[in-house]
Symmetry: C2
Subunit: 482 residues, 2 copies
Amino acid sequence: MLDKRFILSAFGLALVFESLFMLICAGVSVLYGEADTHTFISSFVITFLTGGICWWFNHRKEKEQLKRESFIVVTAVWVVMSLFGALPYLLSGAINNFTDAFFETISGFTTTGASVINDIEALSHGILFWRSTTHLIGGMGIIVLAVAILPYFGFGGMQLFSAESAGVVNEKLHPKITRTAKSLWGIYVLLVALETIFLLIGGMPLFDALCHSFGTLASGGFSTKNDSVAGYSPYIQYVLVVFMIFAGTNFSLFYFLGKGNWRKLLCNAEFKIYLSIILITSLIITASLCIIDHAPVEQSFRAALFQVSSIITSTGFVSADYSLWHPYLVFLIFLLMFSGACVGSTSGGIKLFRHMILFKNIRIEFKKMTHTHAVIPLKIGKKSVSSEVVYKVLAFLVLYMVICAIGTFLLTFVGMSIDSAAGAVATSMGGIGPGLGSVGPVNNFLHVPHSGKWILSFLMLLGRLELFSVLILFSPNFWRHQ
Amino acid sequence: MLDKRFILSAFGLALVFESLFMLICAGVSVLYGEADTHTFISSFVITFLTGGICWWFNHRKEKEQLKRESFIVVTAVWVVMSLFGALPYLLSGAINNFTDAFFETISGFTTTGASVINDIEALSHGILFWRSTTHLIGGMGIIVLAVAILPYFGFGGMQLFSAESAGVVNEKLHPKITRTAKSLWGIYVLLVALETIFLLIGGMPLFDALCHSFGTLASGGFSTKNDSVAGYSPYIQYVLVVFMIFAGTNFSLFYFLGKGNWRKLLCNAEFKIYLSIILITSLIITASLCIIDHAPVEQSFRAALFQVSSIITSTGFVSADYSLWHPYLVFLIFLLMFSGACVGSTSGGIKLFRHMILFKNIRIEFKKMTHTHAVIPLKIGKKSVSSEVVYKVLAFLVLYMVICAIGTFLLTFVGMSIDSAAGAVATSMGGIGPGLGSVGPVNNFLHVPHSGKWILSFLMLLGRLELFSVLILFSPNFWRHQ
């Protein structure tokens, strides 16, 4: 029997938590004297009351017995929060239909940053703040998920890496989870504050600085401007690059950094690969833009570095329209959508440690061909990777590709062109934001058919929750199991 | 020290073998009273003499010591044969430059069937016959490779399947290889003869029937007509479908069939999946063509079945221009390019047994999530698959995808559009023939830049030789190793 009271009370807690942020947005509305204040008050009341009633069902029980319930909560809480999170858009009239409002909200919570809003600058400050706040909340959720919950469930081989590099995660979910989450949330909030200060120094107004900081550290990508961050100064763009790269870094490395342990950061194999890919890809693009398009060097380098950092970290801010670049650069950007940044960060997608395991495996196969009888262990850094983890990573990768293929097929079926569909799927699964073709960096998702938006919403959730935690709910075995 | 005499003598044997087919083409030219006779005589003399001189270096040695030499031969012999195989095209003037002639030849030998010839019907009978003969020779080579040599080397997990279903393969390369190859060549030739008879019954002239049979059983795809097989009767198209499906079937199943063992065929898990995919995909396409495009049912079904069979078996004959279908059907065809048919057949690409292992692995991961401590073995049919094989299959898949990505990047770099590049790469790696966009089913590869043709030639070889046997030659380790 499922413990429905546990599930309900978990939803309740989440909704009460969410409603408090709506109250903050009401405050923002009041501050700017906007008519949206009542929107947020109504949203707050509905969300808070529903949450409070659900929370009422709370009862203590030995947590170890609630594995199935936890599976359900981990996925469903994102849907529940998105349902209520759509309220401000709908009540204010900023978005006039439920599908679009849900899409915008789940895109925010999953820190994807894909939008259906044409004129972002026409939105009220309250709505803009709520939009960026969904990123902030999503990012907080992801940190708990990525560092504590998903590794505990052992999804897709994540246990290995967080366990190795964090050292703060324990096999038991409780009570370490609270401590871990708190220290990582501390780092998260600190980085948001730092970025806000650096953006303020660059002359960005406090409101925009906060919204962009929320979007950066959550690797979200909602901006307050129609042209994303293309209109900002080079200084501001470089600040964003730095903090996007931070957002894609394993947060537990900051934890060690805070303790003065620089070696953990500098010796981290994934982090080194991460920086190398950003650098190499940026230089390829810079060279191409300079030599073939005769663009100025600094401008080319900045455009390259910004777009590469934005895509690989799955943030999705845009400072230049990469869809106008040469096809081979567009294809390179498309490939980057399947990269992802470090595990334990807020970034989405496949993530580099999985690629590293897959590549090491190939190297080992080559070695075996010349040393027939050798047993060569798969190592990342100094740590051996068990076959258990390799299987999980393999399953993850194949599933990821299969879902991308099915998603692209379905989107072409509802009428999108192949390149736009492939771009939309890659960007949704990877939690990035801008795609290719009709959903490219200077377009948005408004024109996608409603059915397509529901497919993409599902893909955002799938990608965000590392596939397995969502898909297990569709397994008859899961429901049969006592 | 490499045994260079062994390598040279192997090349010699292959060239002498190849030259005999040139002699046959000379006979065809004589028969049709064409001026090309001297072309083939010259080609024969050059190839035969070069081969004879190399063969002169033959010397007996314990074969077990020649693993590295075998690696080199397995790959290089295709290049050497293609270099000489390009002679008839160049000497006759049918193709006026070396790049194109080499591309056409290696496309023939690897049984890809991608062509650079605009007006096929303008070619002489001799040249047409040589073109189709490269498929016949390639198919013979593949059978030895797929059933005996590659499994022996253990590439990409093939050892499992051929060993299981064939029963005719032994761990030692010699002397069983000769016997195995002979019995499978017997089946191959028998099927070619059978198809020729069925095509003759349908009213196809003997010359065309032979050429198309060569193209079918080798899963090649060179036709004697400009519109491939679109102009032939429904009967002929259905005959081609049946034999394309045969070409994609594990040849050792025919071996057992010949011994009256039907059960081996009917109980073969890969064969069942193979037929199911053909049927299901064909029905989806048929429904779509009937309902959305209001095309007649039989015509839709035939077009669907033909194109699906042609792509999945990596043959590449075309009876309808699938690039004009709805984008979601085009995408479905693109996906099929990554399927491949059964192991131990002449078909190319990833092949179904690998997909089966990958999917089983995903299922097991799901099962593990609800049964935490269970050890669930990966089984195909009744046979357990060792982790060794899973690793190899994993390495193969990732490498395949990475090479596709790099290939597409390089082709866009030399100026192709992304969809054409992706299609060209998928079709070359899979050994199919027609791609998408500018290299679609009614186009050819003539307009691809020369650099692109060399890239694609390399990809055809890579795909045909299951990646590892070619790439190992680029490993410094391979050359360092004594």
